[in-house]
């Protein structure tokens, strides 16, 4: 129970935050005002309260002035509450005797009028001073952290995070929805700016995953449920049937050849539909696992039940092919989660004026990656859909990026991969290449140099957003070609450039199911739909849900180096948790004052975490502090004010309200 125990001696500390606060709020007046408030023993203002000398002020005063309550008027508690609690503890006082007042984010940064901002700060400080008097000593709770980790998504981000944690001796479950890991990177031909072959640097890591004793790899699988809390997540993974058993298949791939479809008929997803595959297939030669998949949509046996089942024949006594395979559900317990669910590329059909899907010779960048790839559908030969080789190619930048009508953000990688494709296409075809860009963005190690190299390769760069791609010709010179209409903003006039092939540098988007994934893992999305990090600078891989971390493009567009770096960071954060073995939790849990509980059971059904149980023998409710997340819904629901909440006691909030309104 929180009463105003003993004599209360409050220290109030007003931070200037340089000029961030002091520039708008009259910190001197605020401090002077605070000094006059009841129970306030000391009130000081200081340039940077979060700095060591700032924190020393608090430590010193607690000792010298026998303070037992601390109010810090500075920035958001989300930023520095921990800092000032530590300072308070260092001063020998229980850290929960601190109350922060957010006069920066909620005041000086959002208001322009000095008088009004100062008035607001005064109200807020007065409220905090009244509130803190009712604070009480609390101890943080502890939850144990299991040493297993879940990684969702088997692209380069997920692969790197999984390997890092596995190498540190933690068991990792890597869940990938596609039949193979590798993600988008597996589809790329070369990587900018070094032009080393994507497969050559990726596939070793893929097989490392496969062979790692600490990694359980589940491809063709989805996370369908997750319950619990940091350190103790119960995860349900549903493994879709691939109709070929991983444990029995030796990866000889004879079944592919044996398929009754002599001609492959199904558009090949991995090759962006530029080639065909059979109903039984393996996405690409170096796929991991090396186990084929049967696609029931197109397999004769599944459609008609009248197939010779030559695949089963050829598999023979290995019996790896099992057409009766059912979905399997796996239940695992993990301590931490790394989300690496990646991105999707912008659907160029959403920009009809560029003619994708309408004119056969308009391609997306990803299609070109496959087209120039030696192991691609054409063995690296650049052949137009209408046949023949392009003599001229136009690469249109920012398709679905930096555009009010589609996506407003810069996708960060398009400039560089467009340069790369320009280089590769020139290399493969010797064609004349035009790049149409808004701004050329090459902010990375070796990027600008690569751009210069391209300039010396006589690739044309035309600065301007392309208006349209059309086959409507104005001159005989344009006949039978695709005309790119663009305002050349450097030359200052509109140009029509006929080409044989158009490449659309499509941008990066949040995956279509990002919202569902977000809800599943109880994290947030930023406005454009990428997963939101806890702090853009200070907590770039954390989320607002403890123990869940972000890696790669699910958090925002990134190139491969940044993705790998971030995956390493996410793995490190997860490892830090798992190695500590436990995590301290906010003691803001709800609790029942048993003697006054009438056993009305109102609270029990309002708790989303089933933390409240009814003790039949004593006919009262009881709250499990480990399960309680501290939302306080039951506190508001309790009809007789018998349930209370640490750190958010009724008295404390009433004091805050009345403090704010004291002179209203």
């Amino acid at each position: 129970m929180s009463e105003m125990n003993g004599t209360v001696r409050i220290g109030v500390y007003v931070c200037h935050c340089g000029t961030n606060i002091a520039g708008i709020v009259d910190v001197k007046a605020l401090t002077h005002y605070a000094a006059g408030l009841p129970n306030v023993a000391v009130a000081r203002d200081y340039k940077y309260m979060c700095s060591d000398p700032g924190q020393d002020l608090i430590r010193q005063d607690i000792r010298d002035q026998h303070l037992n309550r601390i109010v810090v008027a500075s920035c958001s508690p989300h930023l520095h509450e921990a800092t000032f609690r530590n300072a308070t503890r260092a001063g020998g006082l229980n850290p929960f005797f601190v109350q922060m007042v957010n006069i920066r984010e909620h005041d000086s940064w959002v208001h322009t009028n000095h008088a009004e901002a100062t008035l607001k700060a005064i109200d807020m400080v007065r409220a905090a001073v009244r509130r803190v008097a009712y604070h009480e000593a609390l101890e943080k709770g502890r939850v144990s952290i299991r040493p297993e980790a879940l990684v969702v998504g088997g692209g380069i981000a997920g692969i790197h995070a999984a390997l890092t944690m596995a190498n540190a001796g933690k068991h990792v479950y890597l869940v990938e929805r596609e039949p193979t890991i590798g993600g988008h990177m597996a589809q790329f031909d070369k990587t900018f700016p070094t032009l080393d072959c994507s497969a050559c640097i990726l596939t070793p890591k893929m097989s490392a995953v496969k062979n790692h004793p600490n990694i359980t790899l589940w491809t063709y699988s989805d996370v369908t449920a997750i319950e619990g809390y940091v350190g103790n997540y119960n995860v349900t993974v549903t493994r879709r049937p691939r109709y070929v058993r991983e444990d029995l298949c030796v990866g000889c791939l004879e079944c592919l050849e044996a398929c009754v479809y002599k001609q492959a008929k199904v558009p090949d997803e991995f090759n962006m539909g530029l080639s065909k595959r059979r109903p039984i297939y393996i996405p690409f030669p170096q796929a991991v696992p090396q186990t084929p998949v049967i696609d029931p949509e197109t397999c004769i046996q599944f459609k008609s039940g009248k197939c010779k089942k030559t695949c089963i024949e050829v598999c023979g006594d290995r019996h790896a092919i099992d057409l009766y395979m059912q979905p399997r559900t796996e239940h695992i317990e993990v301590g931490t989660v790394v989300l690496a669910t990646g991105f999707q590329t912008y659907d160029a059909r959403r920009s009809p004026y560029y003619g994708y899907g309408h004119y056969p010779n308009v391609y997306t960048a990803l299609e070109i990656e496959r087209l120039v790839n030696a192991s691609g559908p054409t063995g690296g030969e650049v052949v137009l859909r209408t046949g023949g080789h392009p003599k001229s190619v136009g690469i249109i930048h920012c398709v679905g990026s930096r555009d009010e009508n589609t996506n407003r953000w810069c996708s960060r990688v398009c400039c560089m991969y467009s340069l790369k494709l320009a280089h590769l296409l020139k290399e493969h075809t010797g064609a004349e290449i035009f790049n149409f860009y808004i701004d050329m963005r090459t902010p990375g190690k070796g990027f600008e140099e690569f751009y210069q190299k391209l300039l010396s390769e006589h690739v044309h760069f035309i600065r301007g957003r392309v208006a349209e791609v059309t086959d409507a010709s104005l001159h005989s010179s344009e006949e039978g070609q695709l005309v790119i209409r663009v305002e050349d903003t450097l030359a200052g006039f509109v140009r029509r450039i006929p080409v044989d092939m158009v490449v659309l540098a499509t941008g990066l988007e949040p995956r279509a199911d990002a919202q569902e994934v977000r809800r599943l893992f109880n994290i947030t999305c930023s406005n454009e739909g990428f997963f939101l990090e806890r702090h853009p600078k200070l907590a770039p891989v954390q989320t607002f849900t403890e123990g869940i971390f972000l890696a790669g493009c699910c958090q925002g567009p990134k190139d491969i180096p940044d993705t790998v770096a971030q995956a390493g960071a996410a793995a490190a954060e997860a490892l830090a948790l798992m190695d500590a073995g436990y995590m301290e939790t906010e003691p803001n849990t709800a609790y029942v004052v048993e003697e006054s509980c009438s056993g009305c059971k109102t609270c029990i059904s309002v708790c989303p975490y089933h933390a409240i149980s009814f003790l039949d023998e004593r006919q009262v409710s009881a709250i499990n502090p480990v399960l309680c997340k501290g939302c306080g819904t039951c506190v508001a629901a309790c009809p007789s004010a018998t349930i209370r909440q640490h750190l958010f006691e009724d008295e404390q909030i009433f004091e805050e309200i009345e403090g704010i309104l004291e002179y209203a």
Binding site: H106, V110, H111, F544, G632, A636, F654, I660
Partner: protein, 141 residues
């Protein structure tokens, strides 16, 4: 008291969405009316109707409750609890002669810094139009 009447709004913002949105508004230097005073609660579901009524009783011209969007609650369903209490409270306060505009519930996600501005500016303007909240007057004793 400044020249123009400045309404005082007591705001209860949930820790995970609306409070963060207000922080974001700050870091983005979005400017809005200085009329709110934010009280941080972990979840809009913690907002006890008593708090709202006390705020009005102690002279608040408006009360704003901010929570996560439906389906996005950090605590799964707290915002729905808030919604039900709010709707019932809304009926009560209008019976008590308090204009419904003075009590408002808004879903504002951590990403919607500008929405904080929009809501606070709009509510402030509405309250200015309404004028100061009427006080109860007990003349006995």
């Amino acid at each position: 008291m400044p020249e123009e009447y400045e309404p005082k709004i007591v705001a209860f913002f949930c820790n995970w969405c609306t409070y963060l949105a207000a922080d974001l508004a700050g870091t983005s230097r979005i400017k809005y009316a200085p009329n709110t005073r934010v009280i941080r609660v972990m979840c809009s579901g913690r907002v006890d109707p008593q708090f709202v009524l006390d705020a009005f009783a102690k002279g608040a011209d408006g009360v704003l409750i901010g929570g996560c969007h439906p389906g996005d609650c950090h605590y799964q369903e707290g915002n729905y609890k808030a919604l039900r209490r709010f709707r019932l409270l809304q009926r009560l306060v209008s019976q008590m002669g308090i204009e419904p505009e003075r009590l408002r519930l808004e879903w504002i996600s951590a990403a919607e810094g500008d929405r904080v501005r929009a809501v606070i500016d709009e509510m402030t303007a509405q309250l200015k139009a309404l004028g100061p909240a009427r006080r109860s007057h007990a003349e006995a004793a």
